[in-house]
């Protein structure tokens, strides 16, 4: 019996690899853009693939643009207060819409994969945070009235996002977002009323408090990360 010159199994394997490359559909617009920016394809899949993510992505861009344009318009203290108060809640909204069984139809199938739930939710939260920062930050920097305080909402945004994630270890994502957002509005309104409209909530003390929240909520998320890996608390 003569031995084939070329191993048929190898030919078959190579042929399957070639056809897989040729048949693979082109990625969507968002994903293609991320790949051009150098983000690995295995990560762009996680960011752009699901509708839950796309919804939160588009929603964040849309609301961020409205908030940013609204604040940049009249150029008064009230508009700036609105920008600083509303902008940090956008990532919270994004997180609530990008995670959990009510937002993500593949939630249960995803849980059973080796990718930790906390990693997935962190990637999604970071995505919404980055988009919000890019849109609102750019619009705030364009206006001379908002420029000095353009970065004052960043630490509160991170604090609220982490507080939402920490609350998600006991409540559903949407309830967590509602609790954190309402609490934030109450605190900021009270401080604003007491400080006679001086944007005190976004001053040095406000930033220090936000930093403390970041550290504490980050610790809670890290310690209770197991909760993002299981189904029971979300069903």
């Amino acid at each position: 019996m003569t031995r084939p010159i070329i191993d048929p199994n190898r030919v078959d394997s190579n042929w399957r690899a070639i056809t897989a490359e040729l048949d693979a559909p082109e990625p969507g617009r968002v994903e293609a853009m991320l790949r051009r920016l150098g983000v690995p394809a295995s990560t762009t899949r996680l960011i752009a693939a699901t509708p839950a993510l796309r919804r939160s992505w588009y929603l964040a861009i849309g609301i961020a643009a409205i908030v940013g344009l609204g604040a940049a318009g009249p150029g008064d203290r009230a508009s700036l207060f609105a920008l600083l108060t509303l902008a940090p809640t956008l990532p919270v909204l994004g997180v609530a819409l990008a995670f959990g069984p009510s937002s993500d139809p593949m939630y249960e199938a995803q849980l059973a994969t080796p990718t930790r739930g906390i990693r997935l939710v962190a990637i999604r939260a970071a995505t919404v945070l980055v988009v919000s920062i890019a849109v609102i930050g750019t619009l705030a920097l364009l206006d001379p009235d908002t420029r000095p305080m353009a970065a004052a909402w960043l630490l509160p945004a991170l604090a609220l996002t982490l507080a939402t994630l920490a609350t998600m270890t006991v409540l559903t994502p949407r309830r967590s977002a509602a609790v954190v957002t309402v609490t934030w509005f109450v605190i900021v309104s009270v401080v604003q009323a007491v400080a006679s409209g001086n944007l005190a909530a976004f001053g040095v003390i406000g930033q220090v408090v936000a930093l403390v929240v970041v550290i504490v909520a980050g610790g809670v998320v890290g310690a209770r990360r197991d909760r993002f890996d299981r189904l029971e608390y979300l069903t």
């Binding site: 897989a20 899949r45 996680l46 509708p51 796309r54 199938a109 080796p114 029971e232």
Partner: protein, 283 residues
């Protein structure tokens, strides 16, 4: 990757104050195992525990000796796992390829070429390769189920957990499903839930779950034998004492339970054994 071994001892789950699983003992190795039971028996909860997405409250559960309550061991189990939940949601706007590639990324296929190859491999197996670019909202319910099965087969997992894989499939698709599972049964441990006895009949072993407790574990023939001497056919309408009965196409009544005198006993089927075990009363 060799088949996984699933071991449950005294497994118990309580959800919102209700006991859903109680004292479940189960040892499952290579081959095809059906979890058979009526609606609400706890099949989905049991499979969710095996698939590590739901934590159990009592007893022990291990997969290849790994305990899903420990994070690192749970991740290791998930590396060996393929899971089809009862409901795989629609990803409106996504294409068939995108859905499977997304889960392949989550399953750790980092290399682009390997990932695409793996995706087309499973799409080939479930007969959806030609639909790779079709939006999932244009798929029939049977095709969606096959898509769910495709992601569960990614990477040739040692443990495949399928919750009602035959739901919504037409006869031709069911045969294809059987072929796929038969092909994998020697190299994987496949656990699937069903309430269809004809699906269970092709399995290596059957676990009957009723009210959260295991009532039977064994081969399909053993389940059928459970009704041995307790299945008969009669022309007259059965008395209310029979455990279960139904009228057949020829007008006669098939009855289960303690046979009446001079009953015309018939060879028992798997369905007879299951109905007697599950305590169904269909008369």
């Amino acid at each position: 990757m060799s088949a996984a071994h699933v071991c449950a001892e005294g497994l118990g789950v309580t959800l919102r104050g209700a006991v859903v699983l109680r004292e479940v003992d189960m040892h499952i190795g290579a081959g095809l195992t059906a979890i058979l039971g009526p609606n609400g028996a706890g099949k989905t909860t049991l499979l969710r525990c095996v698939a590590t997405v739901l934590a159990h409250d009592d007893g022990e559960l291990t997969v290849d000796g790994l305990d899903p309550r420990r994070e690192s061991e749970r991740i290791e189990i998930r590396r060996r796992l393929g899971y089809l939940p009862q409901e795989v949601g629609l990803l409106e706007g996504s294409r068939v390829f995108d859905v499977v590639e997304y889960l392949a990324a989550l399953k750790g296929f980092r290399d682009d070429r390997r990932r695409r190859l793996a995706v087309f491999d499973v799409l080939d197996r479930v007969g959806l390769r030609d639909r790779a670019e079709t939006p999932v909202d244009r798929l029939s319910s049977g095709m969606r189920r096959r898509l769910g099965l495709a992601q569960a087969l990614l990477g040739d997992p040692a443990l495949i957990v399928l919750d009602e894989p035959a739901a919504g499939l037409d006869p031709e698709e069911r045969i294809r499903l059987r072929e796929i599972l038969t092909e994998r049964r020697h190299s994987s441990t496949i656990v699937m839930s069903t309430h269809l006895t004809d699906e269970a009949s092709v399995c290596d072993r059957i676990v009957v779950l009723v009210d959260g407790a295991v009532r039977f574990t064994g081969a399909p023939a053993e389940l059928a034998a459970h009704a041995s001497g307790r299945a008969w056919v009669q022309a007259a309408a059965p008395s209310p004492d029979v455990r279960a009965s139904w009228q057949q196409a020829d007008g006669s009544h098939r009855c289960l339970g303690s046979p009446v005198a001079d009953a015309d006993l018939v060879p028992p089927t798997l369905e007879d054994g299951y109905l007697l075990l599950s305590g169904a009363r269909t008369a």
